[in-house]
């Protein structure tokens, strides 16, 4: 192993340990689509522009996820971290001003939405990943037996395990919000590590 690789491995391990500590103590930083948020459900007639709602929600809450309810545009779902009575009143006033409605507080439904656990997202892929890792390991041990079993095992397992953990640690350390791209990133990194390990073995063969 080259000196650069050793340093890289050491830094990765340190980052993973820091990430593990943050995971236990603070946990992940969630965004609106995965975190514990509040959903404001505004019933609508079919005459609204989603962009208007996005603008109104942004003015009041800053960060808000606005989506249309049903293909028949029955309403709007506004996801926000939290909302106060004052903010809700402002929202209703702005909607009424914009569309000439006479909405009151009781016309608008606010529900608390629990978060989606990161582990529940990752768990979906764990068994397939383990199976693929074992099958690839057997294949590589047979194909590259001249390189030595230990070399092949380490060359495959170290990147395949460390790189996804490193990605999770970076998410934790840098407080990157968990979104729907986390699992795709982890799968891509895992597949990339397999490509890298194969290349290493082929080049050394």
């Amino acid at each position: 192993m080259t000196k650069a690789k050793k340093i890289g491995l050491l830094v990765s391990i340190v980052l993973i340990i820091i990430g593990a500590i943050i995971f236990v103590s603070i946990g992940f930083n969630y965004d609106l689509s995965y975190g514990a948020v509040k959903r404001i459900r505004v019933p609508m007639k079919n005459d609204f522009s989603l962009q208007d709602y996005k603008t109104i929600a942004k003015e009041i809450y800053g960060n808000a996820e606005v989506e249309t309810i049903s293909t028949f545009r029955e309403g709007v779902s506004i996801k926000v971290k939290d909302t106060s009575d004052e903010q809700l009143d402002t929202l209703i006033t702005k909607i009424n001003e914009k569309y000439g409605y006479e909405y009151k507080r009781e016309d608008i439904q606010v529900t608390e939405i629990p978060k989606v656990e990161v582990l529940s997202i990752i768990r979906q892929a764990i068994i397939p990943v383990i199976i693929t890792l074992l099958v690839v390991l057997v294949y590589m041990i047979i194909r590259y037996k001249k390189l030595g079993i230990l070399y092949v095992v380490l060359n495959l397992l170290v990147p395949a395990i460390i790189t996804p953990l490193l990605v999770l640690s970076i998410y934790l350390i840098c407080r990157i919000p968990v979104t729907n791209v986390l699992l795709p990133i982890l799968l891509t990194v895992y597949a990339g590590s397999i490509v890298y390990s194969t290349k290493q073995c082929e080049d050394k063969k």
């Binding site: 293909t71 608390e112 294949y139 729907n180 082929e202």
Partner: protein
């Protein structure tokens, strides 16, 4: 360059242009009022089209229950009789605690897994037991909702006395099986496998609950045979699935319950099979300790749609094109054309192979594009490009086997997120290999 070679190169480039147009722009029927794109659309996951959001809350309904003078529950009051009424909650307050909420979540997850729901996101509030599930909205969604909403108390009772004979504590597992009759019709069954105690109990019941013939004396004083049938009723949440007697002693611990009629069409069979799956999922996972009610059931349209796929592809191609041109100058244009052709063909193949493209699939497109980029880069880096194609193709195949194993195994996973990644990566490799043999090799050989 000879004319024949020039012709070959021109033809291949024209084919690449055609593929790119088909893939990114499509073909429109101008005569049609709606100007439909004749090229197939992508099949996409819930993050790229819309999702069903079902919010389940612990049922807090309080019902008014009527009791007669003997303390029996009655449905309606009759004149001249004395009744008492009581306010009774649907759920026993003692059953509403964190432990049971967690148990309910686990049971619902098991049902979702049993029903092989390909894509879902589950949110859970352990303080009040509220569960919100986001899932794909398709023809199966309503079946899934009905399965997760049921409490799922499985019982086998005496049809006459209503005495409980067996419950879910005797069940080991449940699954759906099919049997095709001699006439060619297929019947869907729920196969309930009982545990050791259940097997014994089932054998006992199968000896008792049978059809027998007794001799009785009729009104005219003549003795005659009368068939007496002792039946067992199988229930889920007090709803009868089947009521029957046993034809023979059941010693193997399996009880087969037919669902629906004999199916003569695929649609019928699918309907019965789905119903059987719901029963099996409920019996297998056990009963939720309390009842849930639907608080919200919305279809929410996402802000991103399938257009994100070509947008991401174009963004990746733009970066790759810049890199090629910076490195290879004029030759880089040809490398870029080849790379654009590959990505376009991959996108077209994904449409026609009905791969469900999720966010994971989009990332797999990017990964496949990078891998093909690396191949073309290596080929163009070599001064003898034609020789390099052959060498690199062999090298490419050798290096591809492990990642192909990964993608093939992922293809068999039912979960859309993993399946989409695997399928896209698999097609990425197949297309890359064939494309480079036909186009990259073809162009470099004649250039």
């Amino acid at each position: 360059m000879k004319t024949s070679k020039r012709l070959k190169v021109t033809t291949l480039i024209l084919v690449i242009i055609l593929i790119t147009i088909l893939s990114f722009l499509g073909v429109y029927n101008i005569a049609s009022f709606k100007k439909d794109n004749l090229v197939k659309s992508y099949q996409v996951g819930m993050e790229l089209k819309g999702k069903k959001v079902v919010r389940l809350k612990v049922d807090d309904t309080v019902n008014e229950v009527i009791y007669d003078s003997e303390g029996n529950k009655v449905d309606q009051k009759e004149e001249g009789k004395e009744y008492t009424t009581a306010q009774e909650p649907v759920n026993n307050p003692e059953s509403l605690n964190k432990e049971n909420y967690k148990k309910a979540k686990k049971i619902i997850e098991e049902r979702l897994s049993f029903l092989e729901v390909p894509e879902y996101k589950l949110r859970f509030n352990e303080e009040n037991g509220t569960i919100e599930i986001e899932m794909n909205n398709d023809e199966l969604t309503n079946y899934v909702i009905s399965a997760i909403l049921q409490k799922g108390e499985f019982k086998m009772i005496d049809d006459e006395t209503k005495e409980t004979l067996m419950d879910s504590s005797y069940v080991k597992s449940a699954r759906v099986v099919y049997n095709t009759t001699d006439s060619g019709t297929t019947v869907a069954y729920v196969d309930i496998e009982f545990n050791k105690d259940g097997t014994k109990k089932l054998e006992e019941l199968s000896n008792v609950y049978v059809k027998t013939t007794e001799q009785v004396v009729n009104d005219e004083g003549v003795a005659e045979d009368k068939t007496v049938e002792k039946k067992v009723t199988v229930q889920i949440d007090d709803n009868t699935i089947i009521s029957q007697s046993f034809g023979e002693p059941l010693k193997n611990g399996h009880l087969y319950i037919s669902v629906g009629q004999q199916a003569t069409t695929n649609e019928e069979l699918q309907r019965y099979a789905l119903q059987a799956s719901i029963y099996a999922s409920i019996i297998q996972s056990g009963a939720v300790p309390f009842e849930y009610a639907i608080e919200q059931n919305d279809y929410i349209l996402t802000n991103i749609n399938e257009n994100i796929i070509p947008i991401v592809a174009i963004a990746v191609l733009a970066i790759e094109t810049i890199v090629f041109i910076v490195i290879f100058k004029l030759k880089g244009i040809m490398a870029s054309v080849l790379q654009i052709g590959f990505v376009s063909l991959l996108l077209l193949i994904l449409k026609y192979t009905n791969v469900c493209v999720t966010m994971e699939g989009i990332f797999a497109i990017v990964l496949a594009s990078i891998i093909n980029f690396a191949f073309i880069y290596k080929v163009f880096k070599n001064t003898d490009s034609q020789k390099a194609v052959n060498e690199n193709l062999i090298d490419f195949i050798n290096k591809s086997i492990p990642i192909l194993i990964v993608s093939i195994i992922f293809c068999f996973v039912k979960l859309a997120v993993v399946n989409s990644f695997g399928m896209t990566l698999f097609w990425g490799y197949v297309v890359s290999l064939l494309y480079n043999i036909v186009f990259t090799k073809g162009i470099l050989k004649n250039i």
